[in-house]
């Protein structure tokens, strides 16, 4: 395919104006030794039908499975209206709203996104998106370090391995000390440590699906002058107390379930909300409402002085291109859900998860890592190697869950199982039957 519009005549006219003989002359000032003296070693371009055949073929090498995996990315129902609105070419093919007068669409939707993220987190200051849930935690820690001037952070082991890794990688480069606090009975067991941390961070519900106590974290953090950071699951926010109302200083989230397909894990979107105290330390873009010369309301990027293009090495973050379109999807999905839809998704997922957990417990040799206290995700301990179980379940059409042993040696037979409202009773029952077979056969 060729997306350039140049005819031979155009090229001749343009080269003529430039006094050049051929397009090769456009590069004649390049030092000879760096100019490639051969064509790229790539196949010739494909025509559109062949491009589509190629994609179909790659896709056919993936096996569609009924999804019981979660760990941050969930198979919730994505309404058709959300996707079709999000994919409006005016959003898809524009860029960061540097010229607000012709970017009111993106800007207003981001303002609405911020407002709704503030609502579901109970924290008034939300930014216009970050890359994903993991980076959002890293950015929150970074902000806490800047706010407190302390070089340590306490992480709950209930944060997903991916999140902890993101923080550790960033912390290592910046000489921030990371202390992990263990899970006991599936919940974080905080303990006093030195040095005093910039922040305490937990996941709500945690990676094993368990609902944590905000109180435990907040009551420890506050007297120390540390920030309380919660990494929350947005689809539980219709059910659970908001982190803001529970006293957290920062709430971050992996926003994928809001308006974004699973997409093999990306693009997804990070949500970030905090208290008014930290507005000037906020990472990422922020949209504010203002007026034009005639008093007409309009939206602009604001507090730009925090950002890399102005503040350079002293910026609050290096983020430039972020996940705007995914944030727009989240905003539209939140509007689709409304308060009651959000609650309903959380409830139904939880009821279905509990139904499945109950049925799984009846299988020989199967037990729950933690009997209660979870919502739509839980850890189950199997009488066989979870990796093998996953492989055998895949042959039966199920993505059974995420094996836990590698990251949580204490749960060596553990499998993390997620259940969304999309799973029908029939699928749950079939899952149980298939697992029974696998256990019997193994």
């Amino acid at each position: 395919m060729d997306f350039t519009p140049h005819t031979e005549g155009d090229i001749a006219t343009m080269l003529g104006k430039l006094g050049l003989g051929s397009t090769v002359d456009l590069y004649r000032h390049l030092p000879g030794q760096v100019v490639l003296d051969r064509p790229l070693d790539l196949d010739p371009g494909l025509a559109e039908p062949d491009v589509m055949a190629m994609v179909d073929q790659f896709a056919s090498h993936n096996t569609p499975l009924v999804c019981f995996a979660g760990g941050g990315i969930y198979d919730h129902f994505l309404p058709s209206v959300v996707r079709s609105l999000t994919m409006r070419p005016e959003f898809v093919t524009s860029y960061t709203p540097y010229q607000p007068e012709v970017s009111q669409g993106v800007l207003q939707l981001l303002f609405e996104f911020q407002s709704m993220v503030a609502s579901i987190t109970g924290l008034p200051v939300a930014n216009a998106s970050l890359y994903d849930g993991a980076t959002a935690v890293a950015e929150a820690v970074h902000m806490a370090v800047a706010a407190t001037g302390r070089q340590a952070v306490w992480l709950s082991r209930g944060l997903s391995p991916g999140i902890r890794q993101a923080v550790v990688t960033m912390a290592a480069a910046q000489s921030i000390e990371v202390v992990e606090h263990p899970l006991v009975d599936g919940r974080t067991s905080w303990s006093e440590q030195t040095p005093e941390p910039a922040a305490l961070v937990l996941a709500q519900p945690n990676y094993l699906g368990m609902v944590e106590s905000y109180e435990d974290m907040v009551s420890l953090a506050k007297p120390m002058g540390a920030l309380a950071i919660a990494s929350v699951d947005p689809m539980t926010l219709g059910l659970l107390r908001t982190p803001g109302s529970a006293g957290c200083d920062v709430a971050v989230a992996e926003g994928q379930p809001l308006g974004n397909p699973m997409s093999f894990g990306g693009p997804v979107v990070g949500l970030f909300a905090t208290t008014r105290d930290h507005v000037r330390r906020l990472p990422g873009r922020l949209v504010g409402r203002t007026v034009d010369g005639e008093g007409r309301p309009g939206f602009v990027l604001t507090l730009r002085a925090r950002e890399q293009d102005i503040r350079r090495q002293r910026a609050t973050s290096n983020i430039c291109t972020n996940q705007t379109l995914n944030a727009i999807g989240s905003a539209i999905h939140l509007a689709w859900l409304g308060p009651h839809g959000l609650r309903r998704v959380g409830e139904f997922s939880a009821h279905k998860a509990r139904y499945l957990a109950g049925r799984l417990e009846e299988l020989p040799g199967v037990s729950l890592a933690n009997k209660r206290g979870f919502l739509r995700e839980f850890a189950v301990v199997l009488p066989l190697d979870p990796d093998e179980a996953v492989a055998a379940m895949a042959e039966r059409g199920f993505l059974a869950g995420i094996p836990l042993g590698a990251e949580y040696p204490e749960l060596s037979g553990g499998l993390l199982v997620a259940v969304t409202e999309r799973r029908t009773r029939h699928q749950l029952d079939s899952y149980v039957d298939a697992l029974k077979e696998v256990i019997a056969g193994g």
Binding site: R88, C320, L342
Partner: protein, 493 residues
């Protein structure tokens, strides 16, 4: 007939009108869109300590209201699909629809990232195929697609740099960047735990090699460079530059934002770069999404492969693809596998172009920029006046002197003429900078129309130019007020 030039959005859709209410304004208690089947399992008491009494306060609207709201907002937004978008450094080229189709393929869209490799062979194949193309284009050995944007790629590349130096028992402190560099470069240097030292540009607009040499010592971990640089100029001393950095044990990082200019013409690897990020949302035509998602894959030369983030797809003896962690990997830099659907779009584009298509892209991107620069010369200075590559940086200083019209005024007046504006006030080393990148998908006619608009603005009544835009949904917005009032949430706070 047709008094709008080609490639130019009729300003109609964007001219003055009423404000769109917010979803909050449209909300009415009891309205709903959400639609879910009845619960088909027994419901149990959720009885948990942290349960909320009521759900959060979100808007309640009907599906039709939601559709009207978002559709109207969409029409208040300029886009590549509407007109020329010569935003320098951003490569706002046409985003092929066939790539949209690919990214909506259910076989990929509905794939969970924890799917075992055996059941996700197609996804791993996509990553590997895209990696092969990227490595051939950049002259590198292997690449990771985890970084979700260019800036994330920069940090990743710098962490690889740090990993390598550490492995040599020689951690270093400083990263050099030219004064013309993009803001993400120094910001990333900080995040990676290094210190930034700026290298000045010389009178040609290129790295001042002498100053560079002076800055080089055994604390220099490396140099970050964009080539063509942010002035749109090819760093002609590039061979000398990379050699100099290597000679003190440093590594050279290629900021690939401007790769579009040299696709199939020259390769960073052949110039001596060690680490290369590229922006799929620029060079490889994946759409910018109103500010993202993008993808900032990082490719490295052979010696650095063990430090790449992982896991990476690798083909086993049985022909199956599996995930493998590089030996000294800096670890994951994304929760999953990066912005996978963006990579899929890019691969679709890469394969549609093929090798000769890539070269054609570069040549025509450069031709358009060079031609446009030539056409606007009568009214706009080009301070570093050498043959430009895919973009050029003009200065509105003559206008400013003549009648106080500034670069930002020119930008706003372009909006009224149906075009997006160039990047303004960047790079910082040019006074009243207008950084213009037409890209290769604009036609000669559009380039000429854009030039005509710029010349027209230069000759227009300065008061009118300063009062622009007037044909957009809103006029110039009060940014100071925005920062003072911080009305960033529809609830007062």
């Amino acid at each position: 007939m047709g008094d709008v030039g080609a490639g130019r959005a009729s300003s109609a859709p964007l001219s003055g009108g009423d404000a769109e209410p917010t979803l909050r304004d449209l909300s009415s208690h009891g309205r709903r869109v959400w639609s879910l089947p009845e619960l088909d399992v027994p419901s149990s008491d959720l009885g948990l300590p942290e349960l909320a009494e009521a759900p959060p306060d979100l808007p309640e609207v009907s599906e039709h209201d939601l559709v009207m709201h978002v559709t109207r907002l969409a029409q208040r937004n300029f886009a590549v699909d509407l007109g020329a978008y010569p935003l320098g450094s951003c490569t706002m080229k046409y985003n092929p629809k066939v790539c949209d189709w690919a990214a909506e393929h259910p076989g990929f869209r509905d794939l969970h990232p924890e799917t075992p490799a055996a059941m996700a062979q197609g996804a791993l194949e996509v990553l590997l195929a895209a990696e092969e193309v990227l490595c051939e284009v950049t002259g590198m050995e292997r690449a990771t697609f985890q970084p979700p944007a260019g800036a994330a790629g920069e940090v990743t590349g710098l962490l690889i740099m740090r990993g390598w130096h550490s492995s040599q028992g020689d951690p270093r402190r400083v990263v050099l960047i030219p004064d013309s560099a993009h803001g993400t470069n120094p910001a990333s240097v900080t995040l990676a735990g290094y210190e930034t030292v700026e290298v000045p540009s010389d009178e040609r607009g290129m790295v001042d090699v002498a100053a560079l040499r002076a800055a080089l010592d055994d604390q220099v971990a490396g140099l970050m460079l964009t080539n063509p640089n942010t002035l749109g100029l090819f760093e002609e001393d590039i061979g000398e530059i990379t050699e100099a950095v290597h000679s003190v044990g440093g590594l050279v990082y290629y900021d690939g934002a401007n790769l579009n200019a040299i696709l199939g013409i020259a390769r960073p690897g052949d110039m001596g770069f060690d680490i290369v990020h590229s922006n799929l949302h620029k060079t490889f035509a994946t759409p910018h999404g109103g500010g993202g998602p993008g993808a900032g894959p990082v490719a490295v030369r052979e010696s650095l492969v063990p430090f790449l983030p992982g896991p990476l797809p690798a083909r086993g003896a049985d022909g199956e693809l599996r995930w493998e962690m590089p030996e000294h990997s800096i670890g994951r830099v994304h929760g999953n596998h990066g912005n996978f659907l963006v990579v899929l779009r890019a691969l679709t584009y890469m394969r549609a172009l093929g090798g000769d298509g890539m070269r054609r892209v570069a040549e025509r991107a450069v031709l358009n920029a060079r031609y446009l620069a030539e056409l606007v010369r009568p009214e706009f200075d080009i301070p570093y006046d050498r043959p430009c590559m895919h973009e050029f940086v003009a200065s509105a200083r003559r206008l400013k002197q003549r009648n106080g019209v500034r670069a930002m005024d020119v930008a706003k007046a372009l909006l009224d003429r149906g075009f997006h504006s160039p990047t303004v006030y960047f790079p910082l080393i040019v006074d009243e900078a207008l950084m213009v990148e037409p890209t290769e998908t604009q036609s000669r006619e559009t380039v000429e129309a854009l030039a005509a608009a710029l010349l027209d603005i230069a000759g227009d009544d300065p008061d009118a130019v300063r009062a622009s835009p007037v044909r957009t949904p809103v006029g110039r917005l009060d940014e100071g007020r925005a920062a003072r009032t911080l009305d960033i949430n529809w609830d007062s706070w």
